[in-house]
Amino acid sequence: MAERTTTPEQDEFREHCRRWLEKNRPPAPPFRLPIAPIEVMTEEVRQYLCAWQKRCYEAGLVACDYPKEYGGGGHKGFQSIATQEMGRAAVPYMINVIGLNMAAPTILTHGTDEQKRRLLPPLFAADEIWCQGFSEPNAGSDLAGVQASAVRSGDNWVVNGHKVWTSLAHFATWMIMLCRTSTDDKYNGLTYFIVPIANTTGVTVRPLIKITGETGFNEVLFDDVTVPDSMRVDAVGKGWTVAMTTLLYERGAAEGAGSGGGASVEERIGALIALAKSMKRWDDAVVRDKVMQLAIRAEGLRQTARRMRVEALSDQPMRLPLQAKLLVSELLQDVAAAGVEIAGPHATRYLGDPHAPDGGHWPHAYLNSYGYTIAAGSNEIQRNILGERVLGLAKSK
């Protein structure tokens, strides 16, 4: 007999999600949806996805656990249910993923009441898109080396600098941005700002081309951009601490305001088996073994996500959450690489080739997977963090 682990309200909410998603599934778009929201490129895709997020928000499936006064649902333990049900229903993802999963929890934790009231409701409704300005050409893995500067000028700050790998900047109203406000101390010289991007004097957004041949992320140049002091997040010099909150959510170690939808890892394993069968490779013991290794990793990921919430079986509080980004990104990469190998010569055919298996998904997903093993702190950095924070090994820096 299973223990009761949900409240009647949560059970009822799950039912609500199921019913609503069944009735309100959006019509299939006339274009190919990118693998992930951060790769959205065209205005028509943006409009389609913004409209979908807004409807989900209005139906109470987004920001469920945020306080009502900031536009949330005011519930507890609802978001993970909504996210699960959106995944189960295989509906499109939420486009404002950086806003929901990174900006919103950071603002809720460190922001002022005024910031929360002004910024969170349009973020939830996808009326304002968010991007993140952390990395720079000379500050990647060594993030605290950021050089973009903010200099105080009365009630304002003047921002100059260069941010890179900035997904969604081309649609963004706002950027969460890490700036240097002092050169005296590497870590304590950083301050966290919310910077206007769209229609802002001195801001230039330039697309970068990925190895997939697509754009989808950008570099953003700041030339004497004025930011009011009311858009500073937490104290001057506390930027590193605030950035750590953002990264905790970005790396999947904590749950944000919902991301919903998109293909689950299990579905991708299913697609891999289907591919192997259609390529007549499923009888090959080597192929089977490889696919089963991936299936076990996928199930392990799911069970670890479940174990993360069971204190008595987790040893140390951050041991499992800090593994999330590493596990997901490497699994997706290896699944895509396996798909390429299984499809053999057919996998030479890329997006747009009429004979490419699964529309060229496998070689495209493989190339694109490096975005995830590098972004949000490369996996080498993730291993440093796990080794140092969980296993207590000597710090690399």
Binding site: A2, T5, I296, R306, G392
Partner: protein, 381 residues
């Protein structure tokens, strides 16, 4: 599919685990293990008969605490606790590489339980250790492949033949044997000291257990499952068996991780603790990732035994495969990262490396279980 959020690991189960961890830490720690099994390398590998040392006083204490009764249903005098409690106990035994018939007995219990053999379950509760004798000389534990034959003899049977790879054969009081008769395969129980039983010990690498071939010559046996029910009972018990072995592997792998990490924190070279260097740091993290995957799957398999039996075999195979692979990697890195000292008899790591290797090969290695999984998942896709 509704998942039991906490794996059914509640207060009672936590109490069992914490009590086991405490007792074993105090009475079966690494110093005690070394003194028991590795004092003398000549004796361990070169004496005419390999020794099979274990702490019988500790066994009595464990029996007194109800460890052999945990997984036995209440109507057979047991505590009727969940599979996740048994798994947690096996994990603690693995953590200290316990030389004891405990794991063999927990595994035999799963089969006797599936057979509903109350009389023998009661004897396990009372403290008699037991082991499975179901594997043929070729290494197959498939019921149909048994090399033992059974002939009816009054209300019992007479057994002839040989079972190999019998775990802790010299420590247990009775064997659960699969044997074929004209009616098919049945399961039988034989006392270890019954006339006609010959136990021939193997010389094995693992110092924390013993293993033997057991020959039966006109041995009088009790019927646990009448033929042809034996194959079904063994199959029914398989997920629980695999989960217990996976738990043993996971506990030992966690020890390997923690011990190697500790060495990397204290061992200094180039004026720094070696854990500073990423060539050491990153493999340690990969050990942790492997161990955690295996542990999550192992708890999931145990939870499925309790709450979702239809899914238990899939998860148990995944757990055994993941735990075997984690054990292989942790074993490999635990020696290598200890450097020269890790290659010596005096360092503790080899005791665990050898136990891990043994468990990895028991009841199907990782690749074998992946092959079985592929047949199932491929049919579903």
């Amino acid at each position: 599919m509704a998942l039991t959020k906490d794996f059914g690991f509640g207060e009672d189960e936590k109490m069992v685990r914490d009590q086991a961890r405490r007792l074993l830490r105090e009475n079966a720690g690494i110093e005690r293990l070394r003194a028991l099994v590795a004092r003398d390398h000549h004796a361990a590998y070169e004496s005419a008969v390999q020794p099979a040392p274990w702490d019988e006083a500790l066994w009595q204490e464990m029996v007194g605490l109800g460890w052999t009764a945990l997984g036995v249903p209440e109507d057979a005098g047991g505590l009727g606790m969940k599979a996740i409690a048994v798994a947690a106990l096996a994990e603690e035994a693995g953590r200290v590489a316990l030389p004891s018939p405990l794991i063999a007995t927990l595994i035999a219990t799963t089969v006797l339980r599936a057979a509903n053999a109350r009389r023998w379950l009661e004897r396990i509760v009372a403290g008699e250790p037991a082991s499975l004798a179901v594997t043929n000389p070729a290494g197959s534990w498939n019921a149909a492949d048994t090399d033992v034959t059974a002939r009816p003899d009054g209300d019992g049977a007479l057994l002839d033949g040989i079972a190999c790879f019998v775990q802790d054969a010299r420590k247990v009081r009775f064997f659960v044997v699969s044997a074929r008769s004209t009616a098919g395969v049945g399961l039988y129980v034989v006392a270890g000291d019954a006339p006609g039983v010959t136990i021939t010990p193997d010389r094995i690498t693992d110092l924390t257990r013993d293993q033997a071939s057991v020959r039966f010559e006109r041995v009088r046996a009790d019927v646990a499952t009448a033929p042809p029910g034996g194959a079904d009972v063994l199959e029914q018990a398989l997920p629980a068996m695999l989960t217990i072995v996976a738990a043993d592997l996971c506990g030992a792998a966690e020890w390997q991780l923690q011990t190697t990490a500790e060495y990397a924190r204290v061992r200094t070279q180039f004026d720094r603790p070696i854990g500073f260097f990423q060539a050491v740091k990153h493999p340690l993290v990969d050990m942790m990732v492997d161990v955690d995957r295996a542990r999550s799957l192992m708890y999931a398999a145990a939870c499925a035994l309790d709450h979702e039996p239809a899914d238990a075999l899939r998860l148990a195979r995944m757990a055994k495969a993941a735990a075997s692979d984690a054990a292989a990697y942790c074993s490999d890195r635990s020696i290598q990262l200890h450097g020269g000292i890790g290659f010596t008899w005096e360092c503790d790591v080899h005791l665990y490396v050898k136990r891990q290797q043994h468990n990895r090969l028991l009841y199907g290695d990782a690749a074998w279980h992946r092959r079985q999984l592929a047949a199932v998942l491929g049919a579903a896709a």
